[in-house]
Structures are given as structure tokens and as C-alpha cells.
Amino acid sequence: MAKPVVKKEYTFLERIYLWEIVKGLKLTFKHFTFNFKESLKKGPHTVPTCWQYPEDRRPIAPVFRGAHMLCLDDEGRELCVGCGMCARACPAKCITVKRGKPAEGEEGKYAGKTMSAEFTIDMLRCIFCGFCEEACPKGAIQLGQEYELAEYTMDACIYDKERLLANFQKAKAEGKLKPPKKPVPVAGGDKKAGAKKVAKKPVATDGKKSKKAASKPQAEEKKASETKREET
């Protein structure tokens, strides 16, 4: 049913506009003085509603999906084995991998028995879905934090292996590596096992926490199962 239209009777003050305009002026002036004062402050991000992009950058989530990088392990060996799983998973078909054998005497550079002889990602086609990262059995390919990917030529947007490795080095130097993945829950949802695992952990590692966990095991367990459900 349609709402009946209630015609509002305006008071005299409202009908002569002027007083209402003065009220409006007061409001805009409040905003003006506030923003004016804020914008005179030194330092980035002064006006709370505005991010002055090149100077102010919003903090981005650690799991942000930006430019790719090919990871090395702790001993500085390339993780990628050139299996091509990422290329297969990629919905945009922008990864090209060629498997190769490490050259004589260079086996120490690679974590696996094989390596990728060629690895390019066409960033013009990539949709940053992150499927490649999920598909990789070795955790070799990861999407990093870098998001300013504009280039002057199209060729420069096709990242080769050197560039991908350099991305990793840069991220490592800046401490922007991804946090280790949370354990993926086993399909079929063995709830009890999962919950136990989480609940057990603090007992094994931290004495202080274990007391807490012992005192409130029920709550802890509940929480754990809840988080698990969210993940799935």
C-alpha cells in the first residue's frame, strides 16, 4: 500500500528561507573550519576523509593479491619445480612455464630435482585471482603486496623469471612476505580433530596460555570450530 502523503505545514521561519539558510551556513562553516584546520597540519593524511594517494597510502591486508613473486626457501633455493600446475589453474591463461633440468653443478640453486627453465606471467591478462598460488604444490608462486603495476610499454608488463624473483627479494627486504598459510581444513570436516588440534597447540608451546586453555577448554573449542566453519 502506498504511503499517504503527509503535507508538512512549514512554519513562518521556514517559509521565509532566510533563517534556514543561516542554519545551513553554520553547518557548512563548521565543516569548512574543521577541514581547513586539519589541512594546515603537517604530515601525510591530514584531512580525515581524504587520502592523498601518492603521499598517503592505505595499509593493505597481508594477504593482498598484488604482483606475483617466485619464492625462494630459507637456503635461497628456488622452490619452483616447473610442474605447470599454476599455468593449468590460471583462468586467464597468462602463465607460461617450461620445465627444465638444472644445469650441471647448479643443482644447489634449486629445491627440487627439476626447475622452471622459463617462467613468464603476462600481467596484462592476469586478473589477480590467486588461483596460481593455491594450485602450486610447492608454495613457490605467491601474490605480493605491490599494486602499482603501470608500465610505459606492453612488453614491460610481461614479467619474466628474473623479475618475479626480484619481486621476492624486494618483498623480503621490505618485510612484506606473506604470513604462513593457515592449515587448510580437511575435506569432509572432521570437526573434533580440527578443534582438538587448535586447542592442543597452546598447551604444547606456551605454559601461560595452556592454563587459560585448561580453564576454558569448552569456550576455546567452540571458538576454534567457529573459525574453522568460517574458513570452509
Partner: protein, 346 residues
Amino acid sequence: MDNWVIALIKVVFIWTWTLLIATLMTWVERRGSAMMQDRLGPNRAGPFGLFQPLADGIKLFTKEDIIPEKAHKILFSLGPILFALPAFSAYAVIPFGDKLIVNGKEIILQVADVNVGFLYVVALGAMAVYGIVLGGWGSNNKYSILGGLRSTAQLISYEVPFGLSLLAVVLVYGTFSLREISLVQQGTFLGFLPNWGIFKQPLGFILFIVTAYAEANRVPFDLPEAESEIVAGYHTEYGSMRLGLYLFGEYVNMYTLAALMVTLYFGAWHLPYIDMSKFLGPVSYGIASFLVFFLKTAFFLWLFVWVRWTVPRFRYDQVMGLGWKALIPLALVNLFITALCIQLTV
């Protein structure tokens, strides 16, 4: 000969000054509006974005000058000129300070002290509408014509109260000369108020400021160019420096009207209760009077901007209704009361 040189200097000065203020106003408008809307506005070109108007000017100058194929060539090119010319010449009769005494020669800070200065301003203000109407008609575009028509309809509803409110001022001061009006606003009124027009004509001032906003095509009466309704109204088809003239003329108009408000209602260059000429030297007094006048004008310029970003636009019929049903009767009442008071006191 000397007088000619002085007149020339005054003309050049006031031209550059108005141009400077108008340019600056575009910046104030953009940054001020931004601050009111919790944005920042153009702040990249130069310190605080102050060079933004310069960049805009260069852009407008270097853009291609397009005349639409179906437009009326002569009217189309005449429009912006007819709009900007009155805007630039209207300031001639409005003072911008008291006087400067250099080498024993008295220089009045006003380009021309015409004894019908008043009528000159009103006449030129009405002229500017031709620019809008011709531009709208010449563009041969629906929206432009609508803008032009709105402008005429608006003109007939605000020009009458505009004139009537000014007439009441003339009654009070008994002169058409803007300089004489400024001069008599010295001293106090009723013993405690500054002898300013606003205290003698409070209603007249409200009528004047409302109609002045309509005259300048500013929100809440910016119907001719209502962006949200008719694209850009009369200047929809314009580009490059022709558009620049329209936009610029608007700010120059604003400056003239703000100066007129100060001259008529806010004591021109007089400070309340203080007579600057008593304790300042001849040159410093001239400069001080100029500054005081400018600061007052600056406030009203700011008010133009401030109101623009506060108030929504009036509807077309509301403007007519306001003009004919509220402003004209009020202006007549104001005129009547003023005449009565003068009759009784003289």
C-alpha cells in the same frame, strides 16, 4: 594631460585588480567548496594549488575553438563578449577607496565619479543578460535555449525588486553618485550605530542581496546554467576561451556586486567609530581605505561562495513566485516606509 595619465593608471589598475580577484575567486570557490564537502580540492599546482587558475587559463586558451555547425555564427560569437563586456565595465563607477594625495594632487580612488553611477551599474547588469540569451539562442541547442529563456524569465522577476531596493537607497541618501553615498556613511547613526546603509535599510539590504544573487546567476538562482537539469544551460555548446569569458564574467560580476553591497550598505571604506583620515597620512590613508574596502568586499565574495555550497537551487516556478509574490511587494513596502520616514523627518 596629467589627468589623462591618472585616469589611465586607474583604469589599468582596476582592470588588473578585478582580473586578479576573479582568477583568485575561482581558486577560492573550488578549494572552499571542497573544504565544505570534506574534500581537499585542487592542491597540486603551486603552493596550496594557487596556480590552478593559471593552469586552467592556459588550458582554455590552448583548446580548440569550436563553433557548432548549426549554430548562428554571429550570435554565437557575440554572446560571450556581450556577457563579459558589461561585467568588466560595470566596476568603473564603483569606488575602491577614498582618495590618495600625491604631490599635493588629490586622486579619487574611483575610475569615474559619474553622477548617475547608480543607473550605470543597473543598466550594465541588465545588459549582461543579453549575452546569456544570445549565447543560448545562437547555440541552436535545446538546453542552451532553455538556459537563455530561464535567464530572461528570471530577469523580469528579480530586476524589479533589485531596482526598487536600490531606489530606497537613493531616497535615503538623496544622490545617485556612489562616491557621495560612500562619503556620507561616515560617523554614527542614532548615536550608537555606525552610519551605514544597512542600519537605515535593513529590509532593503536583504532584498538587495537576494536579487544580487539572482543577478550574478549564483546558487540558489543559477537556473540559466543549472548543471543538474539542463547540462550547462546557455554555455553548453561553448568551449575554449569563449567559455572562459562566460565563467570569468560571472566572477567579475560577483566582484562588482559585492563592491556595490559594501558601497551602499556597509559604509564603503569607513571603519565603524574610527575616522582613519584623522591619524593617517595622506598616502597611507588612501591605501588603508582601499584595504578596508577590499576586505569588506572579500567577505561578500566569500559569502557568495559560502551560500553556493550550502543552498540547493530554487525551482523555476519558485523563483518566479519568490520574485513576484514576495520580493516585489516587500520592495514596494520598503520604498513606501522609507519615503514616509524621510517625509516625516525632513
